[in-house]
């Protein structure tokens, strides 16, 4: 008890340097915990981009490529899937639902995706959340469009706004489907997925704007929007499609059936598995970041050690006085251990406090501008283990000055050497 009081009073006496040490520990702890938090949330957000979809089917290429263009809208499909193959596979008895998607056009650098209204029912992200409309509703007419939250914010669109879709991914005046404007019927709520940056229209809409095009350029015949509506707008090909199974046990069997499909070269991927695979390649950076923050923490602890060692000499009198009134050398050792644990304990708590404060302050900002929802949760088991490990490490660090003082107090005895 008396030792604890001495530690606190002595620490208060040297509060300036101790507070700086505590602050440096706190900052390195909040950095380490922050990186850990963001790493876990980023992984979560990434892995949860698509959920409850059992298979994604597209033209045969690499699994990562298929995942990237169908879900993340990055890169392009090498080939299309014919409508016949889609209907054939979608009608298999294992398939509970399927949603076709058609990519390739853009609107002011946002991707345009053709699909049907099933997309709003079956596409799920996170822990099985479906898409919600912030305003309006799904498309019903061929020239209706729905946009993601980011598109609405970036382009400041309202319901009823007119949208001109560009042919291909580069918007130029030459390749604009400006003769067939779309009208905005719905704006989706923020999801934190690539859907936020997508313009959604019906497959028939995609057909309609391409009905008088051939091989990436206007054909000689020009059809007005009304004339196009009278054409057969049944799509002949799509880019990919998503499948939900009646029983997930059939996943691998259907995957093999699709891979061995004879009519055309197709492939099917299990989104979760491919996402995890893709994450592995990104994970290196995340680990590097974690290692760096680990080193920052070690630097903080070393700074504390320097501070403790530098006070050793001036505290020599203090030790002799304590010895004179009956303190054992292990009391002296304990003095350093207690002080160090105290510093690190306060530093860790302060670090957590800083992190939570920052998260609370930036949470809404992060959701709004990046769609990353960082949940403020109590420290998980791993972080408590880290806490215990750092406390243990601080005890080890404190043994350095502690044992020096211990040895000196044995040698010095009551003689005060200054």
């Amino acid at each position: 008890m008396i030792l604890l009081r001495i530690v606190l009073k002595s620490a208060w006496h040297r509060r300036t340097s101790l507070l700086l040490t505590i602050l440096s520990i706190a900052i390195s702890v909040s950095l380490l915990l922050g990186v850990d938090k963001i790493r876990k949330e980023a992984k979560n957000s990434f892995i949860n981009t698509i959920s409850k979809t059992d298979l994604i089917v597209g033209a045969r290429s690499g699994p990562t490529n298929l995942l990237l263009y169908s879900v993340f809208h990055i890169g392009n499909a090498t080939n299309n899937v014919s409508w016949e193959s889609y209907e054939d596979i979608a009608s298999s008895e294992e398939v509970a639902w399927s949603v076709p998607i058609s990519l390739g056009d853009s609107h002011r650098s946002f991707r345009v995706m053709g699909t049907n209204t099933d997309y709003f029912t079956y596409y799920q992200y996170g822990q099985g959340q479906t898409l919600n409309f912030a305003q309006g509703q799904a498309f019903t007419d061929v020239y209706d469009a729905v946009i993601g939250a980011d598109v609405a914010q970036a382009l400041d669109y309202q319901l009823g706004s007119e949208i001109i879709i560009a042919h291909g991914l580069v918007s130029t005046d030459f390749a604009a489907h400006d003769d067939k404007p779309f009208s905005l019927t719905g704006i989706l709520a923020k999801t934190g997925t690539p859907v936020d940056r997508t313009v959604l229209i019906s497959l028939e809409g995609i057909e309609a704007i391409h009905v008088d095009w051939q091989g990436g350029a206007r054909s000689g015949i020009e059809l007005t929007a009304e004339q196009a509506l009278k054409m057969d707008l049944q799509p002949k090909a799509i880019t990919a499609f998503m499948i939900g199974l009646t029983n997930r046990i059939n996943t691998f069997r259907l995957q093999r059936t699709i891979t061995e499909y004879e009519e055309e070269p197709l492939m099917a991927i299990i989104p979760g598995a491919t996402l995890a695979e893709l994450w592995q390649t990104i994970a290196v950076f995340e680990q590097v970041l974690l290692v760096i923050s680990g080193f920052v923490l070690i630097a903080g602890l070393l700074g504390m050690l320097t501070m403790l060692l530098s006070t050793l000499n001036e505290r020599r009198r203090e030790m002799a006085v304590l010895r004179a009134v009956g303190a054992h050398p292990y009391h002296i050792l304990l003095l350093f251990v207690l002080e160090t644990v105290f510093i690190v304990f306060i530093g860790y708590l302060l670090g957590m406090g800083i992190l939570y404060l920052l998260l609370a302050l930036t949470q809404s900002l992060l959701v709004e501008s990046y769609g990353v929802n960082i949940a403020i949760t109590p420290p998980d088991a791993q972080q408590w283990i880290l806490f215990a490990a750092i406390l243990l490490l601080s005890v080890l660090v404190s043994l350095v000055p502690g044992l020096i003082a211990y040895r000196r107090s044995l040698q010095d005895g009551l003689a005060i050497k200054v």
């Binding site: 002799a320 006085v321 004179a324 009134v325 009956g326 054992h328």
Partner: protein
Amino acid sequence: MSARVIHLQDVRFRWPGQEVDLLHIPDLVVNKGEHLFIQGPSGSGKTTLLNLLTGINLANSGSVTMLDTPLESLSSTRRDQFRADHLGVIFQQFNLLPYLSLMENVQLPCGFSARKRNNAGDMRATAMRLLSHLSIPETLFNQSVSKLSVGQQQRTAVARALIGNPEIVIADEPTSALDSANRNRFMELLFQETEEQGSTLVFVSHDQQIAEQFSHVVDLNQINQSQFNQPQFNQMGYELS
């Protein structure tokens, strides 16, 4: 308890690796209530003797008996506890912990010894009484130590050494940092308080003027039979300080 408070018999001490004894005291007795003055220049083994008396170091041979307890029969932890319970120590200077108030400094020994705690009774009242007896102005009691003059610091150290009625008070040149007016006042108060408590005083100094005030004076150079100090060189040929 016998009248012999301190009894050294054929005590020899040397640091590990030394060839010659640093200290060899055939016989030294201090009786209860006695004020013993040990004189000797620096290097004569005063610090070593104090470390032996306080149980910080153990003699290589012989016996250091304090209050009928042979210190060599105690473990190091027990010796520390013995020191906490039965001894009060006053240093040359820097006696006080800078981060504690005067009152806290005086009460410090009670934190390490249940015996002193019991003897002191109401710790705060006892500490205040001791400080007033030692002419410390009451306004300073709860102040930081840095507000004190050197003379006041040394008198506060006496209060700390005396709290809880230790049987033995050991003072290591406590007046060396004081001017003569302060020194006389310090000695007067030290005698007065130790006599009032019936404590035995062992006072180590090289100051001849103070020696005159003591009934029992011992010259360390004379009682120390060690050959160490006669040739002032060790085997390496370096002069020892």
